[in-house]
Amino acid sequence: MNLTLRVWRQSGPSDDGRMVTYQVEDVSPDMSFLEMLDVLNERLILEGDDPIAFDHDCREGICGMCGMVINGVAHGEQRATTTCQLHMRHFEDGATITIEPWRAAPFPVVKDLVVDRSAFDRIIQAGGFVSVPAGSAPDAHSIPVRKEDADDAFDAATCIGCGACVAACPNGSASLFTAAKITHLSLLPQGQPERVSRAKAMVDQMDAEGFGGCTNTGECTAVCPKGIPLDTIAQMNSDYLKANGK
């Protein structure tokens, strides 16, 4: 396949950035999207150009490090897929592909397609945990959990923290990310003692980072590689209201 790529290039946080066009030839349909960029980058290095910087690590769809907006869609049009798991067979020969970084004020661009997502870590720091120091835990079977609750908690806990939800949201909201963690811990008995304070602290931190509010557009769950359900946000709002009612 032969492709035309339009890629966002930005040399650093203070640079304005621009779209740059590249032609790539002989792309195999079996390549992953990132392997296609690897091939282009090898060429750019040999030509003495600066290769395109992008984040990636496990390339198995689980670490959450990769992420780019491909033809206007976070992680591309293939549903429930991270960028690293997207393969070139889903594109037409001769196509033009536009590649941009996550765009949201709390995710400043570091370089090219690399953004700073440390705001997510700070939301977890605010309360995304159960306070249980190592060595203090009772026997695991002393806390039975209904299978349905465990399964629902798991569905929320599969969030990989990639940030696609923020990139897709017209408000730049981090509600799905925050709600996934709140829901995971709210559904389990272990999460109850800190349930209300956790919701308040995490939502307040999310707001302090400059993420927008949720208006239920559902773009987040549509692009989420793990399909985190939208109703986690209802759970978050419910816990948050309880905190403010007190």
Partner: protein, 640 residues
């Protein structure tokens, strides 16, 4: 590459007495630090996977002053996250005869009698606490309808002791450790530096006292000093270029520590996983593991004829070779990882491999679908089939899967004593980065167990004994400056060559060479060839490498080049270690040492020891740590 032999290692610091009591004894003998003094003691932890994340969190909880580093943009992304299967623990919740002693026994046997008994016993003891800790953190393990934890059985064990969270056990355990870590960041006990890469160890007055790191965003070279340093930087499987490791996994942290005096143990012990998705072309950047559980229902075969280019569906039954069932009638498709891997390589070497380049074998579910129905197969393996189709574009319900072995885990690593301290006082090494516990072969679901045992329970106790003598006072300024200059010089050198080849092109070539000569099967001839070729390639690297950009900002080419440079040196030591160990054991198969059935043949007379390598200006020096088995009788494995 010549080497000399140094004195044996006789004292591993394991307490004496009955094996069940050794860890209790050590916990009591380890000195405590007054809570008021802990804040004055500074510990650096490099790496935030299961081992590093849990260690940094726990040390923070104890009140130490911790600084943590990772190369990713968040500590939540370390490669422990990709572990699928589960975590072993001797809970005996099933009442199926499991016990601490049985987990200990299985691990020593699975490691082909090349692990230290005292360490393995402790691992089995601590395993039960890990499950308690993870559940209390809210890790959503699989549960049964009664609300209790579900378990499953895994390779190499006859009991059901593997706890799991669907196919994402590593992710869920890592997020538990990550959340505990972030809680300590918020509490102010841990200072976190993401996108930082360790480039050297600071050794002052014979003690590990800090690290030189590079801020990967600004390019700034920073010095961080402390009273002790913990390396939790994972394995070195990426020396093969293609592996199931994350792209960023590298050997630099442990290799630089090795250059500073830490012994490197059993570098040749690598684990090759039999069920990975095969390479599809030259551009391939990594390999993806498919859960081993597929071998429960899939049948492995290749065409009987060489170079048979027919579609699998056109090959009649009598022209197929179900070679695992043929060679190993008792275990069939369920032989251990190393045996299944080698058998696949053999049939491909005979020219009977399938798919691009003939490097693949079929894993066929046709009979299982016929027997159980498509729905039942989909229920069991649906997510794996989907993953396979996503990557290959082929539907495994209609066409057999193609699989091939891939490098997956490295049992070798920096040598540590019972306290997990390396040969440099004050340098502790945990998780896959050390060599302990798994011997020559790791059992499935044991990597998560070891990482968390080290980080939550073992290290926080043993490092206290070392820190009880601290604070260690000022660091020798010259030692810090020397380390920093060394780092800067290396970066400068990489940038100044301006040759014609990219870091990846060298890495690919080195990886292929290692796979061909020091991979699944090693011979004296292949290893000597590798030892001849590696220095030539390294010389070419330093003459012809091309690194674009500058050191003062984010530069992924520079990062990669530095890592590849260290892989060359490590590769050489791996081949030397493999050459010297003329026996076969676990993941190390020397073709010269096999029994009449073609199985790995150990030589306990000559090789019942750990090979710990010291790096000196005069070349590598081999120290042997003799292994003694008081509790498990050494036997030869058989799976026929």
């Amino acid at each position: 590459m010549n080497h000399t032999q140094g004195p044996d290692i006789r004292d591993t610091k394991a307490p004496s007495g009955p094996i069940e009591e050794r860890w209790e004894k050590r916990k009591f003998s380890a000195r405590l630090v007054n809570p008021a003094n802990k804040r004055k003691l500074h510990v650096i932890v490099v790496g935030t996977g299961l081992a590093g994340g849990s260690a940094a969190a726990t040390l923070g909880e104890l009140g130490y002053n911790v600084t943590s580093f990772c190369y990713q943009d968040s500590p939540r992304r370390a490669h422990s996250i990709a572990a699928q299967g589960g975590i072993n623990a001797a809970k005996n919740y099933r009442g199926d005869g499991d016990s601490i002693h049985r987990l200990f026994y299985d691990t020593v046997k699975g490691g082909d009698f090349r692990a230290r008994e005292s360490n393995v016993y402790r691992l089995a003891q601590v395993s039960v606490n890990i499950i308690d800790q993870a559940v209390a953190q809210g890790v959503p393990f699989a549960r049964e309808y009664g609300g209790l934890l579900d378990t499953r059985s895994f390779g190499g064990a006859q009991v059901s002791r593997t706890f799991y969270a669907r196919g994402q056990t590593g992710q869920q355990l890592l997020l538990g450790a990550y959340q505990a870590l972030e809680r300590q960041v918020a509490a102010g006990t841990v200072t976190m530096h993401t996108r930082h890469e360790m480039l050297d160890l600071i050794v002052s007055d014979g003690r590990a006292r800090g690290v030189i790191v590079r801020d990967m965003v600004t390019g700034e070279i920073e010095r961080h000093v402390a009273d002790a340093v913990v390396l939790a930087t994972g394995g070195y499987g990426n020396v093969f270029f293609l592996s199931t490791n994350a792209k960023g996994c590298n050997t630099t942290a442990i290799w630089r520590a090795h250059e500073r005096g830490a012994y490197f143990a059993n570098p040749c012990y690598t684990q090759i996983h039999p069920t990975c998705i095969p390479v599809s072309g030259e551009y391939q950047s990594k390999l993806t593991l498919m859960s081993e559980s597929l071998r429960n229902d899939g049948r492995v075969w290749v065409p009987l004829r060489k170079n048979d280019s027919r579609a699998p569906g056109d090959i009649p039954e009598q022209e197929r070779d179900y070679y695992l069932e043929r060679i190993y009638p008792a275990f069939g498709n369920l032989v251990p990882r190393d045996i299944a891997s080698r058998a696949a390589k053999n049939v491909c070497d005979e020219g009977r491999g399938v798919g691009p380049g003939g490097l693949g074998v079929y894993l066929d579910f046709r009979d299982a679908i016929g027997r159980l129905g498509r729905d039942a197969v989909e229920k069991k393996y649906g997510n794996l089939f989907e993953m396979y189709e996503r990557i290959t574009g082929e539907n495994p319900y209609d066409v057999p899967m193609r699989i091939y072995p891939a490098v997956h885990y490295t049992m070798g690593g920096l040598w540590v004593d019972y306290d997990l301290q390396s040969t440099i006082p004050g340098l502790f090494v945990i998780g896959e980065a050390n060599f302990s516990d798994h011997g020559a072969n790791r059992l499935g679901a044991s990597a998560l167990m070891q990482g968390l045992a080290d980080g939550y329970f073992v290290l926080p106790t043993t490092i206290g004994d070392y820190l009880a003598d601290g604070p260690y006072g000022d660091v020798d300024e010259e030692a810090v400056a020397e380390a920093e200059v060394k780092v800067r010089d290396k970066i400068e050198r990489l940038l100044s060559v301006n040759g014609t080849r990219t870091p990846d092109s060298f890495h690919r070539e080195l990886g292929k060479l290692m796979w061909d000569y020091c991979g699944m099967e090693r011979t004296e001839e292949s290893l000597r060839k590798a030892l001849e070729r590696i220095p030539e390639l390294r010389e070419e690297f330093w003459r012809d490498i091309k690194v674009t950009g500058t050191a003062e900002k984010l530069n992924q080419v520079l990062e990669k080049a530095g890592r590849v440079a260290d892989f060359f040196d490590l590769a050489e030591l791996m081949c030397l270690d493999a050459l010297v160990r003329t026996e076969s054991c676990g993941g190390h198969f020397r073709a010269e040492s096999q029994d009449s059935d073609g199985e790995a043949l150990r030589d306990d007379e000559r090789f019942a020891h750990v090979s710990a390598w010291e790096r000196t200006p005069g070349g590598p020096v081999l120290h042997k740590e003799p292994l003694e088995y008081e509790y498990v009788k050494m036997t030869q494995r058989s799976y026929k």
